[in-house]
Symmetry: D2
Subunit: 361 residues, 4 copies
């Protein structure tokens, strides 16, 4: 039985880690750290956890929680994990749900988050925790940078296209739509119910901080530097991310020509071919569900679950492929993926405590 400490346990991702671990057969929460709520029962802050989680928030003092901790989930704001990582390493494994350990190159962190990395040597050996791409490295990692919600969904949508060399990497456009829980639990006018409800808005265009994270992974898949357009939107829903990705199929005739095309290194002629490749690529990845030609991903189908639903369509009129994916931003996009990483890091089946359907409707 793994002993887990959750730091920053009073935000949405922290609460979701507690929820998932409350029925995990191989792990138990021993400490929940929150400076703000120290002394309060967890159930007062997360009403769903009443009677289900007996923990009481405690102060952020590593000398108290580290001795009996196997793994630390850091759910605190960016900048927290890099400040405590050196203290944790060697004593417990660290899974950071923030961005501190997502970038191989600490300079990228510095550029996009506006502050120097405090533990660059650890950043370089940390592993990017997208199990679908990096399971073997994660297995032996001491620190895992748990992917951001948008990057998780975007990279899973596009990975097969880049891995098989089917698209022009410079042509990638990612139009992303997120539920409001992705913005965290701190209230603000932008997330005030009457401002958000019944309305959709773009934000952070261009230049959202998840862009370099997406580009890091797309570049690794493409084997060359990739720059893409990434545009997030706020949707009036609680949970969920949907990405709609556009890219030009390689080897496809110029738009406007009538000749049928065949893309890339594989002979891709239509949607059926693309879907077959996606199925091949994700064959042994239990949390990726590749949808057939009659179904499109939507966020309700993954609500509350760790699944990523993904599919793609070839548009012969324009020579583009449109790849789409949906996740629950708090599960596969945060807490569920963190538990999946824990499972892999400790030799458990990656599905342990996670492989269950979400709610519908």
């Amino acid at each position: 039985m793994l002993n887990v400490t959750v730091i920053g346990g009073s935000g949405y991702t922290g609460g979701e880690v507690l929820r998932i671990l409350s029925s995990h057969p191989g792990a138990r929460v021993v400490h929940v750290v929150s400076r703000t709520h120290a002394g309060k029962p967890v159930g007062e802050v997360f009403p769903n956890l009443r009677q289900c989680c007996e923990a009481v928030f405690c102060e952020p003092d590593p000398s108290r929680y580290l001795p009996d901790t196997d793994v630390v989930f850091c759910c605190a704001p960016h900048g927290t994990a890099m400040g405590i990582a050196r203290e944790i390493v060697g004593k417990a494994k660290l899974i950071d749900l923030g961005p501190d350990f997502r970038f191989r190159d600490p300079a990228v962190f510095e550029e996009w988050y506006g502050k120097p990395h405090e533990a660059p040597e650890l950043a370089q050996e940390a592993v990017y925790g997208l199990v679908e791409l990096h399971a073997s490295e994660i297995k032996s990692a001491g620190i895992v940078g748990n992917p951001g919600c948008y990057p998780t969904c975007s990279v899973l949508a596009l990975a097969p296209l880049l891995a098989y060399g089917l698209i022009d990497p410079e042509s990638v456009v990612i139009d992303a739509k997120s539920g409001v829980s992705g913005a965290g639990r701190s209230p603000g006018l932008a997330y005030h119910f009457p401002e958000v409800n019944d309305s959709i808005r773009p934000y952070g265009i261009p230049g959202h901080r998840h862009t370099p994270e997406i580009e890091q992974e797309l570049s690794r898949l493409a084997g060359r530097q990739v720059k893409c357009s990434f545009s997030p939107h706020l949707v009036p829903m609680t949970r969920g991310i949907l990405v709609t990705c556009y890219a030009r199929l390689l080897g496809w005739p110029e738009v406007g020509s009538d000749r049928a095309g065949a893309a890339g290194s594989r002979d891709i002629r239509d949607t059926g071919d693309i879907i077959a490749l996606y199925r091949e690529y994700y064959e042994f990845r239990p949390f990726v569900r590749v949808l057939g030609p009659g179904e499109l991903p939507h966020t309700k189908a993954v609500y509350g679950s760790n699944f990523c639903d993904v599919t793609a369509r070839v548009d012969p009129r324009t020579g583009r492929v449109i790849a789409m994916a949906a996740i629950d931003n708090l599960v596969k996009g945060a807490a569920g993926q963190a538990v999946q990483n824990m499972n892999v890091m400790f030799g458990l089946d990656e599905r342990t405590g996670l492989y269950a359907p979400g709610l519908y409707p």
Copy 2:
């Protein structure tokens, strides 16, 4: 391992039974019956169940599903269960999620549902499946009438007040609010998104069909015939029921008097006294969470779970008590309660496969 057959498995309650049973350690679904969808994989109708439920819908032929079935969940429209009950009885247990077996008196069914009961002798021996009130009868029942969503929430809110004789039974007013999934999965103008979204509406006032079911249970608690006002409202949310119940405290001075009062057979002087009684009443009922004086039930706190959050307030200005409760209409109000009944009927701990927190937010 119990073998389960789900009839009418393509509606919301059927889908929810499948979802819950997909991670139940002591039961497995062997047949899912749906005339409409016979031949289709369940995951095509419930996208959350893709990869989680391998079943394929089959035709409604008892000779096919009864031989290897221990318990039948009937999730079909009212009138279905009473037509097939005689065939099932003796071969398998029957849990009907419709109203056919909720009334001790078949004449009440006939009056409110406008058709004669087809198996009145079975109706009389069926047990009303509110585990919190009738666990011992359920244990030995062959047929359980699984309570309606509104009655579940209303009765749990009011039970301690009537059981302890604190209120005037004639004074009970129940104002209920429900999410739209309570209306089922058949589309109609009244549930068309643009008509429902961002709006609240009352319906079926007075005379909703859940009224006699509520009154049957309140009458049993009160030990006399009770008639109450019950008013349902449609709220722009997917899941959840909240009831706000009003009743006059017995022994309380007339409204308008300044003298402090003491209600009923127990000395009830304030909200704290009432909450203490609720805690006593529900002490051994794991799915009822009695909230303290600083918290009120809301549907998000029970979203996707089998819990019922309940509390009450004394209003000394008016001499009334206001009792409130919240459930997820598809879980504690339908499928979860059905599984809870199954657990009790087969000697399992009632919490098996059910005792987990819901989603928040």
Copy 3:
């Protein structure tokens, strides 16, 4: 052409006053006061008003805005209007959208708002601005206390029943449901989108501050002191209030008896009789629409309009009448009603600039 100054113009009610006046043929906004936003164009704070309202927020200095102002709309938090009323009176008319001038008895204000009234002599001569009940007093008022959103809806729902003496005034229970804009534009966890969306919650039970305002008006209608239960709920919608009111019909046989009853001073035997009385009572009130036996009020039907939809049902089983009403809390419950008051105070037709349908859907 009336010259209007709006104080506290950056909240939802202030914005709504600006919206409505932007197409009012007999009034124009000359000053919009907001300490926070002084210097900013109104369209930056209310994106709907871009190009439609050329005003720029100015500092709260009466010597600047009073000289060319005919009427002041005070949309600032409670306590503001009573502090500036003496300065305004005699120079301009004052319509306060807060509670300062709603109570005939300043002691009631003090009791419920926890501070002494700063202008009690003005409070006593101010008029409660519910045009449907007090049009003739409003006509000559210098200060109007614009009714709260809940009281507007509750009093309009119940007025005919009390005016005609049909119900026991002590039996009134008001269960109210409101959209989130009623809580104002200041963000807070309780109104953070993910906390509110897809959920309903009661709050302020018992003891919401709108209770004494409702009781003041019900008492005037009943000709005696009335105390009622009033329970507000927060509904996941932007605008709208629905009230469901319960009361015991006088002269109706005890519940449980089979004898048909006849209530009160009029011979009320069924819903048709009650509706006929409502139609008679509201015959000359253009903004009250009395719905027939086939329709119930819902908030979408009044969205963005100044109408109040109202109806009632007799429940012969329980001897109760259930009265229901719906308004848009920001229009008939605040800004629209304020403009309606302005129209009456300045001798315009009360419908001027207001008599238009809301949006549907």
Copy 4:
């Protein structure tokens, strides 16, 4: 005073025409045609119109409504207008809110709508009713094909970029998001509240019927044949369309180069330059509001109004421009635009009866 007949008056666009015309100073509704609802008062079908529209639905008999009609709004399903157009032409003007008269080339209609055009000679002389682009032709048109909701928003977002030759026309990707009222008032599982609420889904990818309409207009602006990707999404909101459009800036260095670029025939170096061009292009178009560098369009800002909010951003990292626009699909995307067309066709100021702010929040 213009006499208006509305055909197909029981859907959402028909209801919206009635709402807008109910306060139009220069037009009045004389007939509302609906086979389904013939004989019913309009207020029974559109509860917002109670007391605001005295009309009664009548049968679809041109000999009854044409004699006193100046202009017909056809809000019926596609295929209706082309069947009755010959009868109307010469007697009244026709504004078709469906697709029958949107295509210069009847073959395009046939290809995308799967049936031959029944009045191809009229289709060729009909005018595409986007006032912002075609005001002078609309002025003298006998038949106007009122643009679709998605095309209106997409074309207004992209027009300046193509008109000034700033982008590669082959690179255009339009990611569109719509509220559910765009799907009409006929219920179906895809629009059933519990299926839509709290979820976002793509649909019709690729190949939505609004694609050729968008391409027709983009091609006219570009002066050459344009093919674009157009992907619609269903958002859990009642009204509103947001489009996010991506295109490659011409003359911009290849992605990945560090050299700053200058796009197209104008010297476009940054977002400020683009916005200045948009302001120039839309200077005399009252319903297009060009937002500055600190604001992005969102649907709530145009809710219930005829405005289109639009802006663009240059992304120097990728050499792309991102153009965004928001409208209310039922107003500027349907009924409001139709009334704007009527105004222009009859020599009224295009703003008549339309120039008012929407609701906020």
